[in-house]
């Protein structure tokens, strides 16, 4: 049997992971001396409640190779093989830990794949990989399905501020958006594994309109998700607009978890999409 493993930056919460019968290896979030397993000890709502009330800025760290090895050992021991789908290597060292752990096993037993994306974008790759498994693909074909599809995934997020991304060192090419005097809301996109500047808007309303415009321009789509960063009201603004634009698609709602939220900061709203071939 082929098992799918991912990490907590997919923002697949434990209940959903259980339902999908996959393993979600948590990254770690720290507030000073306090340490939490992303999504396990600290759910997104608790994280965003805490974020504005803390004087210590949170930091994150990738899972240890041992965390992955434990999961892989369990599956390999049961005679299964593993396809392990992770956050872009340009955004996190998670893939490195997973690769190190995988090297313990015979070639082809654990296939580690760079999703080149994050969060709801990764979820598309995980869910389609599960569908491939259910359809009877072998591990190599499942892996190839992920690498083929990842170029069709787009993640776009409207942030309230670039402060968190900048401080966290994940700003990438959006560096050019830093340093404005005006309160400008950055609209960023994750493409080729990196954060790119997409647009700058003056208000959330303009930004939401822009996100919907992007979703329409990127069509036809196979998958569409909307997420928020501790701001459910924003999600309820954009979701009906997306549903109106794509009446035949289910717009999957979600929230950025603690690790990704450490870099987005609170107040953001975004979309993830999987373009049709």
């Amino acid at each position: 049997m082929i098992r799918i493993v991912t990490d907590s930056t997919s923002d697949i919460l434990p209940d959903e992971a259980k339902r999908l019968d996959i393993d979600v290896v948590p990254l770690t979030v720290r507030f000073g001396d306090e340490q939490f397993r992303d999504g396990v000890d600290l759910d997104p709502d608790a994280f965003y409640r805490r974020l504005p009330n803390t004087t210590v800025q949170p930091s994150t760290s990738q899972p240890t190779p041992e965390q992955f090895a434990e999961v892989y050992r369990r599956h390999i021991g049961a005679g299964d093989s593993v396809v392990s789908v992770h956050i872009s290597a340009k955004l996190s060292g998670t893939l490195q830990s997973a690769s190190l752990a995988a090297s313990e096993f015979p070639d082809g037993a654990v296939r580690v794949v760079d999703s080149t994306t994050v969060s709801a974008g990764m979820q598309f790759l995980v869910r389609t990989a599960l569908a491939d498994v259910a359809a009877g693909s072998d591990a190599a074909a499942v892996e190839k399905g992920v690498t083929d599809r990842r170029d069709r995934v787009g993640v776009y997020v409207l942030l309230d501020t670039l402060t968190y991304l900048h401080r966290g060192g994940r700003i990438g090419r959006a560096q050019s958006f830093v340093g404005g005097i005006l309160n400008v809301k950055p609209l960023l996109c994750v493409r080729d594994g990196e954060v790119h500047p997409e647009a700058r808007v003056r208000s959330r309303q303009q930004g939401i309109a822009k996100l919907v415009e992007i979703a329409v321009a990127q069509g036809p789509l196979e998958g569409l998700a909307a997420f928020h960063c501790g701001a459910p009201a924003q999600l309820s603004l954009i979701q009906p607009l997306l549903e109106a634009a794509y009446p035949d698609l289910e717009v999957i709602p979600g929230q950025l978890g603690a690790v990704v939220g450490t870099y987005s900061g609170p107040g953001g709203v975004g979309i993830a999409l999987l373009r049709a071939r």
Binding site: S176, G180, N183, A199
Partner: protein, 583 residues
């Protein structure tokens, strides 16, 4: 030869049969002195009862640049050389719409005298005719009741006068009288002037120039009759009272009335044809037949072509058979052949590059740069922080010169440059820049105010091409409204409002919406009249407003408009206590 030159005495003076470079330079100096003396008078002629009066200053600065260069003419004794230098100087120093049109009048005058060292009445008449032709061509939609009407009537009178007299002094006297009569008529020609009961400011400025030149030349009687500015005429430094205050409560500036509008039907096609040996008249004729709104200007070495046509291809083919083309630009409305023409555009731009040579080759050039214009340090800082490569100081009361803009464009070291004028009165000046710079392609996104300029800049996508960015930026300015708050400088009636000096005016997108006694009340009234409250209002406080006052204003607005977010920033602009952007 003494300074007395009033019309009644002129007849008894020796006739002036020819004028050379020395007399012309003296006449231009006299005109400059007169313009300086009348500067405030001209500035005060505004149709908008807001303190944006800079027509006089703009014309003065433009003419000053002309006189400076004329003083260094290669052959000071040659009328053609002095006028040629003046024309070039005025183009480089042109500020504001009226300055640009004045530079075109001088350019036409210089062309019209056809290289003659000394001018007789025929040469003068010919010069005026050419000045009229060139000035009209500079404006895409010529409007009567502006400076254009003045040069037209002056040229017509010169044409008639040259048949009647060989005395240049007599000819110019008639031209001056005709000009003043034309100025007086502007009130009836333009609705805005009629509403306000004033004459056109730019037209009045031109009449002042012609009047002073006439006086100077009448006081010279021959080749030896060179004059110092002080002696050149009857107190040229005293303000003229030819039009009478009663006629002008306030007035529309000629420039505002003739602001060029881009667009039209089919393809707006522009390019340069490189000589030598170009036949301008033949080109104008054969190219002009292939389209509308044809503007074919230049000389035998370089001709600039601007034509609206349904079929650019035959036009370009014909032109390229007459000389090498560069800076080809085709703005398509109907999008057919878009890609083909884009490639031609890119190829033409690339072809123009090797000739540049102004920038050191080792410095890599940016693909796209942005030059913006703003009054006030606060606005300039904001624009720079949003990625403008250069921000030129200027705005409502101090229009930047073409040269200021040119220097900023060159300083970007970019292959293509987007120019954001951020003021209706700077757009025409900005549009001249592309024709004067070889090393890069310049496009103007016609932003009429700072909020539009900021929106346009936010839409910049550095990885996209020039055309795509011009499109994005132009689309972006439609989604922002500008509310400018100022105080009326005089009593007037405008847009159904009776305005008293000192009243606070709320001007939404160039239109007076509210008149009141205090800023907060006017702003609240304008915001309250909107169909839906804006989501975000950015308040830019002027140089005379304290941060505490602006914050207090914003606090009051937040209480009244709970659905709207208010941000306060330091704009630093003059004359407008507040500029608000409504999004």
């Amino acid at each position: 030869m003494a300074g007395k030159a009033s019309p009644n005495l002129r007849l008894v003076h020796e006739p002036v049969l020819t004028t050379g470079g020395v007399e012309l330079l003296a006449a231009l100096r006299g005109a400059l002195a007169a313009l300086q003396a009348n500067q405030e008078e001209i500035n005060d002629l505004n149709v908008f009862p807001v303190p944006d009066g800079d027509t006089g200053s703009n014309m003065y600065l433009t003419l000053r640049s002309a006189v400076e260069e004329a003083a260094d003419a290669a052959d000071p004794s040659s009328a053609a050389a002095v006028l040629g230098a003046a024309a070039h100087g005025s183009l480089m120093g042109a500020r504001g719409n009226s300055g640009v049109i004045l530079s075109q009048v001088l350019r036409g005058l210089a062309q019209g005298v056809e290289g003659q060292a000394r001018l007789d009445v025929r040469a003068w008449a010919h010069g005026f005719a050419e000045a009229r032709a060139v000035a009209y061509k500079a404006v895409m939609k010529p409007t009567e009741g502006t400076i254009l009407s003045i040069i037209r009537e002056a040229a017509e009178e010169a044409e008639r006068g040259a048949d009647d007299t060989a005395d240049i002094a007599a000819l110019l006297e008639r031209v001056v009288l005709a000009s003043h009569a034309a100025v007086a008529r502007t009130t009836e020609q333009l609705q805005v002037l009629r509403d306000a009961g004033v004459v056109d400011a730019g037209g009045f400025g031109l009449a002042v120039i012609l009047d002073a030149m006439s006086r100077s030349i009448a006081s010279s009687t021959g080749p030896s009759g060179s004059q110092t500015p002080e002696a050149a005429g009857d107190h040229p430094e005293a303000p003229l009272e030819t039009t009478g205050r009663a006629q002008r409560l306030q007035g529309r500036r000629g420039a505002a009335a003739v602001a060029a509008k881009k667009g039209g039907w089919g393809y707006c096609t522009e390019f340069l044809i490189h000589g030598p040996g170009l036949d301008l008249e033949a080109l104008r004729d054969e190219l002009g037949r292939l389209g509308e709104s044809a503007l074919v200007v230049g000389d035998e070495d370089l001709v600039r072509v601007h034509i609206h046509t349904g079929e650019p291809a035959p036009l370009i083919a014909l032109a390229s058979s007459r000389g090498r083309l560069s800076k080809l630009k085709v703005e398509d409305m109907s999008a057919q052949h878009h890609d083909v023409l884009d490639r031609a555009d890119a190829a033409a731009t690339a072809a123009a590059q090797p000739a540049a040579g102004r920038t050191a080759p080792e410095v890599p050039r940016k693909a796209i740069g942005v030059v913006s214009v703003a009054p006030g340090q606060g606005f300039r800082d904001i624009l720079a922080s949003l990625g403008a490569d250069a921000v030129v100081e200027g705005g409502q009361t101090m229009n930047p010169s073409i040269e200021d803009l040119l220097n900023a464009v060159r300083a970007t070291n970019a292959e293509t440059v987007v120019l954001l004028p951020n003021n209706g009165n700077v757009i025409l000046t900005a549009e001249q820049v592309d024709g004067l710079v070889d090393e890069c392609e310049v496009r103007v996104v016609p932003t009429r105010n700072l909020p539009q300029g900021i929106s346009a800049l936010l839409a910049l996508e550095p990885d996209a091409g020039l055309e795509a960015n011009v499109e994005r930026m132009t689309a972006a300015i439609e989604h922002v409204h500008a509310l400018e708050v100022t105080r009326a400088v005089r009593d007037s009636a405008s847009n159904g409002h009776h305005i008293k000096a000192g009243d606070v005016l709320g001007i939404l997108d160039d239109e007076i919406r509210e008149v009141g006694s205090d800023e907060a009340g006017v702003i609240e009234a304008v915001l309250g009249s909107a169909d839906a409250p804006p989501e975000l209002v950015t308040v830019y406080r002027g140089g005379d407003v304290t941060a505490a006052d602006a914050d207090a204003l914003a606090a009051g607005l937040r209480e009244r408009f709970t659905q709207t977010a208010f941000e306060v920033h330091d704009g630093g602009q003059e004359h407008y206590s507040y500029v608000l952007s409504l999004e």
